[in-house]
């Protein structure tokens, strides 16, 4: 089967797929009005876990509900389809939260397609705390502090390290103690919200309710522009 054929079959934007993703964890937003002031991402790439669902909730709350979603796996067809989209010549902003393996592939394909990466985050969530390493460009100025404030307000224990690409300044280190175990589920929604409104005025970051789910694991978040 040709790449074009695969593209036709598989690149139908998964408007309904978000529902599939979300049905696993049923996050509920805590009353955050959607912001329509920012540049909307054209596509969100997510895996199938609870953290990705929370990320999507945060992104949708910030960007509006029209955010198309593509569920990614590490399969060759899926990656080739995404590469095809990147190379289609249409300007596009893509945000996402994926596992380490899928994100490695996505970001490498993005590089080869000449994409710009404004935000690259590596995240680990464990019981009661999270770790974040960010590598950012100018468009993400202030986002690390905003995320830090969000995590702090949620009561999550966290460490956050931010490097600015090309900066001679040392990496920024931020941290907060755990004040509430429940807060550790908020990180993914916060990142979704940040990435959906990157480069626009700061918005109130959403909190999600994820019943009985600890958003643990390792993930990579990104904002890509082609």
């Amino acid at each position: 089967m040709s790449v074009d054929r695969r593209f036709v079959l598989k690149s139908m934007v998964l408007g309904g797929a978000a529902g599939v993703v979300l049905s696993r964890s049923v996050p509920v937003l805590a009353g955050v009005p959607p912001s329509h002031s920012g540049i909307r991402p054209a596509l969100a790439l997510v895996g199938s876990g609870a953290a990705e669902a929370a990320f999507l909730q945060g992104a949708r709350a910030a960007a509006g509900t029209e955010l198309p979603v593509q569920q990614m796996d590490r399969g060759l067809d899926c990656m080739l389809d995404f590469e095809h989209q990147l190379r289609a010549g249409r300007p596009m902003q893509v945000i996402g939260l994926l596992d380490d393996a899928a994100a490695t592939l996505v970001l490498d394909l993005a590089r080869s397609a000449g994409a710009r990466v404004h935000w690259l985050g590596q995240h680990t969530a464990e019981a009661g705390s999270t770790r974040h390493r960010l590598l950012n460009a100018d468009l993400a100025e202030g986002c690390a502090r905003q995320l830090s404030r969000h995590l702090h307000a949620c009561g999550a224990g966290f460490t956050l390290n931010e490097e600015r690409q090309g900066s001679v300044a040392p990496a920024r280190q931020l941290a907060g103690p755990a004040r509430s175990g429940a807060g550790s589920v908020q990180w993914a929604a916060g990142i979704g919200s940040l990435l959906a409104t990157l480069g626009t005025r700061p918005t109130m970051m959403p909190r999600v309710s994820v019943q009985g789910t600890l958003l643990s694991g390792s993930f990579v978040s990104f904002s890509i522009e082609v």
């Binding site: 710009r116 974040h132 390493r133 694991g217």
Partner: protein
């Protein structure tokens, strides 16, 4: 002239000179092929090195589309003493990815030079540019129904033959020793000359991709894992697709079985009964490739304890060691060799043989069979999710294809990795006489403490293996200078003498494989001064 203020500059280059060089690059390549903005450079940062991004941050990225442009780039680099780090697809992952060996180097990305110049289905060879990927070649071969088979490394689809071969990478078919199958290359030298190896210098020759040696000194190998030129074309041989392909697995329950596995295998490989680059993967390589995750078995820090590995074996049916090989040829050839192989393993009495019919679509068998038959896939990337955190560096010592040696290396590596709380995730890639013992040092990039631990672990692996007379065949960009020291001072002197002759301004990837006129000259003169004083 517009000012380009960069937070990252090449070593010894002022902002003013850098800006002047950038203007020249723009005039040569066009604005869109000179990348300076942070968001353009982030994708070129290190992703698989146990050190902060800043240590390997590029100052700029250039993309070229023609040999003439590459010639123009080296001319500008000579004029302004700009060091360039060349990549083809930049997808060697655990060996370093796209990031330069030294902070501030300008990356020359040859992804846009991606023409398949020729595939000859009768003489069974290809001539390609650096940006060609295996997927491109695979699609071409499939669409044109050519009776040919590719050999590639595990990242297969998205990696490319030129980069992999120039880094002396391996694949899993009978053509798996890729540099052995390389035939003819075109290299832009630091002075801008275009050198064609082998028969390539003969006007009108049609044997450039047919006969490797040409006349006089054969220099192809000198350009691999080196910084003496920029390879802009490469020829390589393609295997005729055999009428019958029979992949199989042999599963061994005990870790100690590695001794007998290798000793049974060696004569079969030497006699070409088993013709391909066989893989012997341990339980954790299998688990990662099958997309299992450590946290599903344990959340305790440190290495994964043996009882858990045994449970994984029991649950999954995977062995402590899992051998993958294949037979190729006519039915008669395959039948004869299959009998010899099954007799050998049955006589041994331990391994459980699994055929394709028995395995069905089960992973990891499926992706191994695909790799051995030249079908690309991305299955092995699952390894990056095994531990969590995505860090990966490949430690790849060479071993004799002798059971006792493999066991010795495996035990040594395991002891060191466990000391640092990391897992022994390994495979042996088996040639007739040597083994590439590839260990994926997996770590959590989000943990500064674990990243430092992985770095210390990798250094100790290098040190302890060297004490036993072992060295790696290829290494992550972060450790290239360290590994160069393992191979002795005379080799390094020769390499630097060649570098002085071919690239006196030290513009081509200084630091690649430890070859750097600036730092080596300083170190050598400091050493001789100290010696004179004593």
């Amino acid at each position: 002239m517009s000012e380009q203020m960069s937070g990252v500059l090449p070593r010894g280059v002022t902002q003013k000179k850098f800006n002047a060089a950038v203007e020249k690059f723009r005039a040569l390549l066009g604005e869109g092929n000179v990348l300076l903005k942070a968001e353009q450079l982030i994708p070129y940062n290190k992703i698989m090195m146990s050190v902060e991004n800043a240590a390997h941050a590029p100052s700029a990225v250039l993309t070229a589309t023609t040999v003439e442009q590459v010639q123009g780039i080296v001319k500008i680099c000579n004029q302004y003493r700009i060091p360039i780090w060349t990549i083809s697809t930049g997808r060697n992952f655990g060996y370093g990815t796209a990031a330069p060996v030294q902070r501030g180097q300008v990356i020359l990305d040859l992804k846009k030079m991606n023409r398949i110049i020729k595939i000859d289905p009768e003489m069974c060879y290809a001539l390609v540019e650096p940006g060609v990927t295996f997927q491109q070649l695979y699609d071409y071969i499939e669409e044109n129904k050519l009776p040919l088979m590719l050999s590639f490394s595990a990242p297969s689809a998205i990696a490319g033959p030129l980069g992999n071969t120039m880094d002396r990478g391996v694949g899993y078919t009978p053509y798996g020793e890729h540099f052995m199958m390389q035939c003819g290359m075109e290299v832009v030298l630091a002075n801008g000359d275009v050198y064609r190896t082998g028969m390539g210098g003969v006007k009108g020759s049609n044997t450039w991709q047919i006969f490797k040696w040409g006349y006089g000194p054969t220099l192809d190998g000198m350009f691999t894992q080196a910084n003496y030129g920029i390879t802009t074309k490469m020829g390589f041989w393609l295997m005729p697709r055999p009428p019958v392909f029979k992949p199989f697995e042999v599963i061994f329950e005990n870790e100690a079985d590695i001794v007998e596995i290798v000793d049974i295998l060696r004569p079969l490989r030497m006699a070409q009964i088993i013709p391909n680059s066989v893989v012997i993967a341990n339980i954790l390589w299998e688990a990662g490739s099958a997309h299992l995750r450590r946290r599903d078995y344990t959340t305790e820090p440190g290495h994964t304890p043996d009882p858990i590995l045994e449970k994984m074996q029991k649950d999954s049916g995977m062995g402590a060691w899992n051998l993958y090989a294949a037979l190729y040829g006519t039915q008669e050839q395959v039948d004869v060799n299959w009998k010899i192989i099954t007799d050998a393993f049955r006589k041994h009495g331990k391994g459980r043989i699994v055929t394709q019919e028995e395995a069905g679509h089960k992973q990891p068998f499926k992706y191994r069979a695909e790799l051995m038959s030249g079908v690309p896939n991305l299955q092995e990337f699952g390894l990056y999710n095994w531990r969590g955190g995505g860090g990966s560096m490949w430690f790849a010592p060479v071993s004799e294809a002798r059971g006792s040696e493999c066991e010795k290396q495996a035990l040594l590596a395991k002891r060191i990795l466990h000391k640092y709380g990391l897992d022994y995730v390994a495979e042996f890639i088996v040639a007739p006489r040597d083994m590439h013992h590839v260990i994926d040092v997996l770590y959590d990039r989000t943990s500064e403490e674990e990243t430092k631990r992985a770095d210390a672990c990798f250094n100790e692996l290098l040190d302890e293996f060297e004490k036993e007379g072992y060295a790696v065949y290829r290494v992550n960009t972060r450790f290239q200078e360290r590994v160069a020291r393992s191979y002795g001072p005379v080799k390094r002197d020769v390499e630097h003498a060649i570098k002085r002759a071919l690239d006196p301004n030290n513009i081509l990837a200084p630091g690649r494989s430890g070859i750097d006129l600036d730092t080596y000259r300083t170190r050598r003169s400091a050493k001789s001064t100290a010696s004179d004083e004593s």
